[in-house]
Symmetry: C2
């Protein structure tokens, strides 16, 4: 429980935002596995009076593919209920008339189909995994350093995450690398960015105090939500008890 | 001229430390080219009463190969006069009983021949260029994160440098990446580290106010020297006038 005001606040509760990996399922080979009780919990929430949204920093697949995986695991989830950084970035890019140079995982590229990418005037990075080669990072750097007003967007700011074959460096590490190279500050899109949480609240038509965020990450889920005026609850699954990443 | 005390201080001057790339020569295809007047300047200094040393952050080759290149260009330089980060790192590692995991350019590996590299208890990174792959950076990260007291040494902290085919990310960028990933502070070996400049002064048997550092980099050469109590002079060749890297 991340706040002493609970459970008194439950009376004003109108919406629930759920993190996905580590809350609904554990990643692993293939689709991963559903966490015990989570499929039923989502069902219960859907039959309640509470609004429900899902909020993930997943950037290696499109929402369509990601939701298809969750549905195969047994979850009743639709694409419209899922908030992830790539579509949020697309909205920001269009709003500001920016044309990105993308350093992202191939699987998420279709999310950017509608964005003009000619003659780039900003750089967008996401968890690109093995695409974070020296050549590709250099290329992103050269685009940035060649701009009059360099703008770097980072889809998340994670340090590392765990996969079946060990720990992997996350996008935040490469964000810091490019920030130092170009002497600039990146704009983070995704959790724990307040703008990102606010977009979910806006979609539900709720005020921060009317919603609760449930996640396994103390910084990105609980801290980010509290920073926005929401309640934050940390589950004891996923990365709970492990080092905060 | 980086200090108003000049030229009065010239009377106490007993030693000169020269940066190499951008002061003696410009890098480029093959060995690069000697900068006009620099071969003669080194000759003059050698026939003067002043002691002379060379100080470089070059880490892509052994001192032997590096000096051989300078000699081919026409410079009268010997290995014993050249101070570079790799041998300085070797001294530190041996002093502290550390066994490094190396993420460095192949060309500089022989400098570490005498160091025990089994069962690593620290990580040493240098300008590894294309060896800075996602896999290699992940490997260095896993070594660090698996240590009880993670220690990271970075041979230099440059942001980027220029080669014939464009700008290239330098070691400092990857230092920042690993610092963020592991939530630690790296120890920099090489310019502008005071320890590095002090080792050159010790070799000459001089006090800081008796020596002058001449380089093309305002931060690593001039600033580093001044931080140690030496005079620092910036030449108008090399990276002078360009963005400080």
């Amino acid at each position: 429980m991340a706040d002493s005001g609970w459970p008194g606040c439950a009376k004003s509760l109108k919406g629930v935002i759920l993190d996905m990996c580590g809350v609904l399922y554990d990643s692993g080979e293939g689709d991963g596995v559903a966490i015990a009780g989570s499929i039923e919990a989502v069902k219960k929430l859907k039959t309640s009076d509470l609004q429900l949204r899902f909020c993930t920093n997943e950037t290696q697949a499109t929402r369509e593919k990601f939701v298809a995986k969750l549905r195969r695991l047994g979850f009743d989830i639709s694409v419209a209920e899922v908030f992830s950084p790539a579509p949020a970035a697309v909205a920001v890019l269009k709003q500001r008339g920016l044309r990105p140079h993308l350093l992202v995982y191939d699987g998420v590229l279709p999310e950017f189909d509608s964005v003009d990418k000619t003659n780039p005037n900003c750089v967008v990075i996401a968890d690109a995994a093995e695409k974070f080669s020296y050549q590709n990072l250099n290329e992103a750097f050269r685009v940035l350093i060649g701009l009059e007003k360099p703008a770097l967007f980072s889809l998340g700011q994670g340090r590392y995450y765990k996969e079946m074959d060990g720990l992997k460096l996350d996008v935040g590490v490469y964000m810091k690398a490019l920030e130092y190279a170009c002497d600039l500050k990146a704009e983070v899109i995704g959790k724990p960015s307040p703008v990102f949480f606010q977009s979910v609240l806006t979609d539900m038509g709720l005020q921060p105090h009317e919603a609760v965020m449930i996640g396994d990450d103390l910084v990105n889920d609980v801290g980010g939500a509290q920073h926005c005026g929401m309640k934050g609850i940390q589950v004891r699954t996923g990365k709970y008890r492990s080092v905060v990443v």
